[in-house]
């Protein structure tokens, strides 16, 4: 590959990452000099930086066609462009929801914002990865930032415990990923995903398949697919809710991109093999996620199992093994993130210092205490249950559709049955909020007008995208060809 000179043109597509690195440094410095007294400054600065990042991305990073940078290790395309914009938006909304929560618990530190931004950088690197090494770089950058975030509330034992679990299990998964990559590299002699795509054919050698197995395990771990899901409920429950919100949203983009770039592009030659593996994982994930969610009494843990169940649907999109299927998975991922933002946002607003609002019983009669939060939560729950007119319905419809198109009869039946099981525990939350009487002694939720408006818009988006689903569906189909 010829050396390309570093010019503005050759760097422009990578502007989002470069911008983020600069922003991280600036914010870190600003936080040091702002001192203890002006904590709010860092948060505001971060939100401004995210808005600026989106603007810079729109202005400079859009590429007319697929562009390869940095000796083939970085790819800029429409998918990356849109996912990065989505990343900026999701993280900004998440930080907005989290601010009061962090402040009340005394963990509103500059480092929190810096870690969020480095995690976002990891997401971007993954989204644009075009070689095995870049993939690994992105995975680790994201994972290390998130480990630290989970342990951020250092006085909380349960946070530290879940961070430890996450770290140890995550390290094993990273090892599996690296091991699999080394096998693939050793047998094909290349790290570039583009070259792998042309080298790896079906039927592949046993070595390639071994490598593939390890990579699929790592992807399944990162997404939280059964049987590699053990970390997810513990981390969701143990982490501070603002961190749970982060883990539940933005990284899903990255792991979608991980699966897409690595499996469907680089190892696209082995689609028959990995789609069978994913089919087994998807069925297990759907069944375990939905069934175990029913017996949870902790809302964060229940939502963790709900995440697992939703990951099952995302995997089914990959199982289809067609561009239509991948675009269905992308659509599902984006829709899922929208719901996760809203539901964890409600938990953040409902909780106060000393009252985490994480048990299901804390939501009894929420309608009487705070109609807006209850309404938002209800829309979120109906949407994930897949009831029209909310957007979650279309996400499920797309998955069913691609499964029919690829003749996966039993997968349609199983996923349809499981979505009914799922409806039960979503309905239970609505039941608690609307049909039960409120207990007296719960503290009032946070009343911050701006955050509430954002939450309202978040919920309204579910309805608008549900009634007029065509634009987002078209976008997802256009991004994956």
């Amino acid at each position: 590959m010829p050396d390309t000179p570093m010019t503005w043109q050759s760097l422009a597509p990578a502007i989002p990452e470069i911008y983020l690195v600069v922003a991280v440094c600036v914010i870190l410095m600003a936080d040091v000099f702002a001192g203890q007294t002006r904590r709010g400054l860092t948060g505001t600065l971060t939100l401004l930086a995210l808005a600026g990042g989106a603007a810079v991305t729109v202005l400079f990073a859009h590429v007319p066609q697929r562009t390869i940078l940095f000796d083939g290790s970085y790819v800029a395309d429409d998918l990356g462009f849109v996912l990065k914009l989505a990343g900026f938006l999701i993280v900004a909304v998440g930080l907005l929801y989290s601010r009061d929560y962090l402040e009340e618990r005394g963990i509103l530190r500059g480092e929190y914002y810096v870690l969020t931004l480095t995690a976002l950088l990891g997401i971007f690197v993954l989204v644009s990865a075009n070689s095995l090494l870049t993939v690994y770089l992105g995975v680790e950058l994201l994972a290390l930032s998130v480990y630290a975030m989970v342990a951020f509330d250092r006085d909380s034992g349960i946070s530290a415990e879940s961070a430890m679990k996450y770290f140890v299990l995550g390290a094993i998964a990273s090892g599996a990923l690296l091991y699999g990559m080394s096998m693939i590299y050793g047998l094909s002699g290349t790290l570039s995903l583009d070259e792998l795509a042309t080298h790896v054919h079906d039927p592949s050698s046993l070595g390639i398949l071994m490598g593939l197995v390890f990579i699929v395990v790592a992807v399944a771990f990162k997404l939280g697919a059964v049987p590699f899901h053990m970390w997810l409920p513990d981390v969701y429950q143990g982490a501070p809710t603002s961190v749970t919100l982060f883990i539940g949203t933005a990284p899903k983009i990255a792991y979608f991109a991980l699966a897409l770039r690595l499996l469907t592009h680089g190892l696209g030659g082995t689609v028959v093999e990995w789609s069978q593996m994913l089919a087994v994982l998807a069925v297990l994930t759907l069944v375990v996620g939905n069934v175990v969610a029913i017996v949870q009494s902790n809302l964060k843990r229940m939502l963790a199992y709900s995440t697992i169940a939703n990951v099952g649907f995302i995997l089914l999109g990959f199982v289809a093994g067609t561009p239509e299927g991948y675009s269905a998975a992308l659509y599902y991922t984006l829709v899922y993130i929208l719901v996760a933002l809203g539901s964890f946002g409600v938990i953040l607003l409902a909780s106060r210092k000393g009252f985490e609002a994480d048990l299901l019983d804390h939501y009894k009669g929420l309608y009487k205490r705070d109609p807006l939060l209850a309404l938002v939560m209800m829309l979120m729950m109906f949407s994930t249950a897949g009831v029209p007119p909310f957007v979650g319905f279309w996400a499920k419809l797309r998955i069913f559709q691609v499964l029919w198109e690829t003749h996966h009869f039993w997968l349609v039946v199983i996923s349809a049955a499981m979505s009914v099981v799922g409806a039960f525990y979503y309905l239970r939350i609505i039941k608690l909020m609307y049909f039960d009487a409120p207990p007296e002694h719960y503290p009032p939720p946070i009343h911050s007008a701006g955050v509430r408006m954002a939450l309202g818009i978040n919920a309204a988006a579910l309805l608008v995208l549900g009634v007029l689903p065509a634009p987002l569906l078209d976008l997802c189909a256009r991004l994956i060809r």
Partner: protein, 501 residues
């Protein structure tokens, strides 16, 4: 004029306005609700006036692109099957609103809003000519009903509403899977192209079972009927009325709109299953109704038995063709099924309103708590007796026309079917008249009954309007039959034609 769109979106918009007005301005909200429901009904009347009874094609058609990728469109239209149901929906919502005028104490504005949104969604179900749009309305409807039963229902409302939701959701999800399967084969979601799509017998069987799950739960047919008594007992009066009058009809409508024309071969093959289930509903559920202690539960079981006539009438067509060898009179069962749906919508709605009138005064639905109501509430008693007689199928009321047509049609098919079906005239009379005997007639049973006051003007208006329509259809069903005729002829042709490629 986009009449159908107005019919769908006007009540929904009014519902949103009422939600925005909120509980503090309930006085205004009530009038908005009433005016919106009246306006919707008035707007539905030109549909009848301008309906062309010479064609089976969809009328008042509207079409807008919705999701170009799936070739799904916002396509509306009515024919002889859906028009009466649309008008019925618009009509029944008015008494529901009036009956709840001052009765609902907790969150009344939301109560009215829920029913108006419901109304729009239900009309959408009947008007949609695109399967995806149909499903969209069909499922969306669950949300307001879930909340209506859950928020304003009785003591076991949570159990009842979750059971209701999950039963219907389970059936519907498989219907969705079947619809998507046909989309993948046909290339678009319009119901017309599904009807034209050739399908092998194996495919038809599977799709038939998926549809059966959805529609049988909704009708409801034995043995998936168990959600209905629970939902009816726990629902507030308005919820029971809408459930019995409209939502049950969607199952019957689904059989006529989807199962028969899209899957004629599977329907022919499996018709005995449906006939058997219908007859079980008619006979067995009739017995179950006989032993009920709770008035609402009794009417709920009676609804299941009466809906058995709808499914019997719809699927008897193949037996008629088999035994007579021709299409002559084959549509009679479907005629009966349609009339039965309209008539049962009115009568069961009226009976639930009657129970509501009693419940508002005594806060009990137990038959044993009543007795001799006629002594203190003579006008009410007259209405209740009228609706009870209509429920037993008394000639001169709408209940007679539907049951008579279905029994006649099943007689053409097989003597034994008609004999079993006709026993309902006995069971129906038994459980309904015994109910009347215990509740309305006899000496005043206790002090609370003695203290009852007769219907007020509002209640009189509601029951009176329903009584007029029940009698009108009973003595002069011809206009209704005339509207349905061409569509049912066409439907019979579709149902007996083979689609196997």
């Amino acid at each position: 004029m986009h009449l159908l769109s107005i019919l769908i979106w006007l009540p929904i918009a009014a519902g949103v306005v009422i939600l925005l007005l909120g509980e503090p301005r309930i006085a205004t909200a009530r009038w908005v609700a009433l005016l919106a429901s009246l306006a919707t009904f008035l707007i539905s009347l030109p549909l009848i006036a301008r309906f062309n009874t010479g064609t089976a094609a969809m009328q008042f058609v509207e079409q807008l692109p919705w999701i170009a990728r799936f070739h799904a469109s916002y396509a509306l239209g009515v024919d002889g099957i859906s028009l009466p149901l649309v008008v019925l929906t618009a009509f029944v919502t008015i008494p529901v609103i009036i009956a709840a005028w001052t009765v609902i104490e907790a969150r009344p504005a939301q109560y009215f809003a829920a029913f108006l949104i419901m109304e729009g969604l239900m009309i959408g179900v009947f008007c949609a000519t695109d399967a995806l749009l149909f499903y969209f309305f069909w499922e969306a409807m669950l949300i307001p009903m879930f909340l209506i039963i859950g928020i304003w229902g009785g003591p076991r409302r949570v159990y009842a509403t979750i059971k209701f939701f999950l039963y219907t959701f389970l059936g519907s999800v498989f219907m969705l899977a079947a619809l998507i399967y046909m989309y993948v084969k046909a290339g678009d979601y319009s119901i017309a192209s599904f009807q034209a799509l050739p399908l092998t017998l194996v495919e038809q069987r599977w799709i038939f079972i998926a549809f059966l799950l959805a529609f049988a739960v909704k009708v409801p047919m034995w043995p998936v009927h168990t959600w209905l008594p629970d939902a009816h007992v726990e629902a507030p009066t308005g919820g029971s009325v809408i459930l019995a009058a409209i939502m049950l009809k969607m199952g019957g409508y689904g059989f006529l709109r989807f199962s028969l024309p899209i899957l004629p071969d599977a329907s022919r093959e499996l018709d005995l299953l449906l006939i058997a289930l219908s007859l079980i509903a008619v006979v067995y559920i009739g017995f179950v109704a006989l032993v009920q202690q709770d008035m609402k539960k009794l009417i709920a079981y009676s609804s299941i038995a009466h809906m058995g006539f709808v499914t019997l009438g719809a699927f008897i067509v193949y037996q008629i063709v088999r035994s007579t060898g021709g299409l002559q009179g084959a549509g009679m069962g479907m005629d009966g099924a349609m009339v039965q749906m309209i008539s049962h919508g009115l009568i069961s709605g009226a009976l639930f309103l009657c129970v509501g009138v009693l419940y508002d005064r005594m806060h009990s639905r137990q038959i044993a708590d009543y007795g001799g109501v006629i002594n203190t509430m003579p006008i009410f008693a007259a209405f209740m007796v009228l609706f009870a007689l209509a429920n037993t199928g008394l000639p001169g009321t709408s209940g007679f026309v539907g049951e008579f047509l279905v029994i006649l049609a099943s007689f053409k098919a097989n003597f034994w079917y008609s004999l079993l079906a006709a026993t309902t005239l006995i069971w129906g009379a038994c459980y309904t008249l015994w109910l009347i005997k215990r509740v309305v007639f006899g000496p005043v049973a206790n002090a609370r009954v003695a203290a009852l006051t007769d219907v007020n003007g509002r209640e009189f208006l509601v029951l009176g309007a329903l009584a007029v329509v029940v009698l009108l259809i009973g003595v002069w069903p011809a206009p209704l039959l005339k509207i349905m005729q061409p569509t049912i002829h066409h439907l019979v042709d579709q149902a007996v034609a083979s689609k196997i490629p």
